[in-house]
């Protein structure tokens, strides 16, 4: 479900915009960056924030899916 919510937000961006996503470790952290890259987005940042939470910054590129 984390990627579902992420995808819905990514669809609202225009090329060059970035989206910040807070993720828990485990399935979301392993799945969301991988799937975003597979779908043509760029993962600009992936940092540990606190406890089991990570911050992911995803950028929409020219030609990324709408």
């Amino acid at each position: 479900m984390t990627f579902v919510k992420t995808k819905l937000e990514l669809e609202k961006l225009i090329a060059g915009d970035t989206l910040e996503v807070l993720l828990c470790e485990g399935e979301p952290l392993s799945n969301v960056p991988k799937t975003a890259i597979e779908q043509g987005f760029t993962v600009v940042e992936n940092v540990h924030v606190k406890d089991n939470v990570h911050k992911l910054v995803i950028q929409k590129r020219e030609g990324s899916p709408a």
Binding site: M1, F3, V4, K5, K7, L8, E38, Q39
Partner: protein
């Protein structure tokens, strides 16, 4: 077999927990670019009724009484331990407090991600329902043969 990623669900159950399973799969697959088709039949048709509560739908007395008792998306029972409809409300509260997507969120996400929804013509006929009784996002009313054509070349699951 075609290399298109495709998943088709036959949603016969009109139970709260099984509807969550169907829309979790549907939205998750659509988010990773699968073509997703859901074919609602019999009790599953309750999930896609335009009126989400209990309404008298259909023409005859039996149709109207039956559709009132079955209700819509807001009145789906839990498959076990329903406690007169209390459990789905408790479970939705739990899901919200634990930041898990609720049935309505999964449903809306599925629509936003382009999941294709279809209603079963035969079950509609049996239950006295017409296309206008369903949400406008229903793509079409189908029979088995057309659904088989749609689902050909992908995964098909029965819920």
């Amino acid at each position: 077999m075609a290399d298109t990623k495709k998943m088709s669900l036959i949603c016969m159950s009109g139970e709260f927990d099984k509807a969550i399973a169907a829309f979790t799969l549907a939205s998750g697959a659509a988010a990773v670019n699968y073509e997703v088709n859901i074919f609602f039949t019999f009790w599953g048709l309750n999930i896609i009724k335009q009126k989400t509560g209990r309404r008298f739908l259909g023409k005859g007395f039996l149709d109207r009484a039956f559709n009132f008792m079955m209700g819509g998306r807001k009145t789906l029972p839990l498959s076990r331990l329903n406690f007169g409809g209390l459990s789905p409300k408790l479970m939705t509260g739990l899901m919200k407090s634990r930041k898990v997507a609720t049935l309505n969120e999964l449903f809306d996400a599925s629509l936003a991600l382009g999941v294709n929804l279809y209603a079963c013509e035969m079950a509609m006929h049996v239950l006295g329902l017409k296309k206008g009784d369903f949400i406008p996002e229903i793509r079409d009313v189908l029979g088995v043969a057309t659904f088989l054509e749609l689902s050909h070349g992908g995964e098909t699951l029965f819920i």
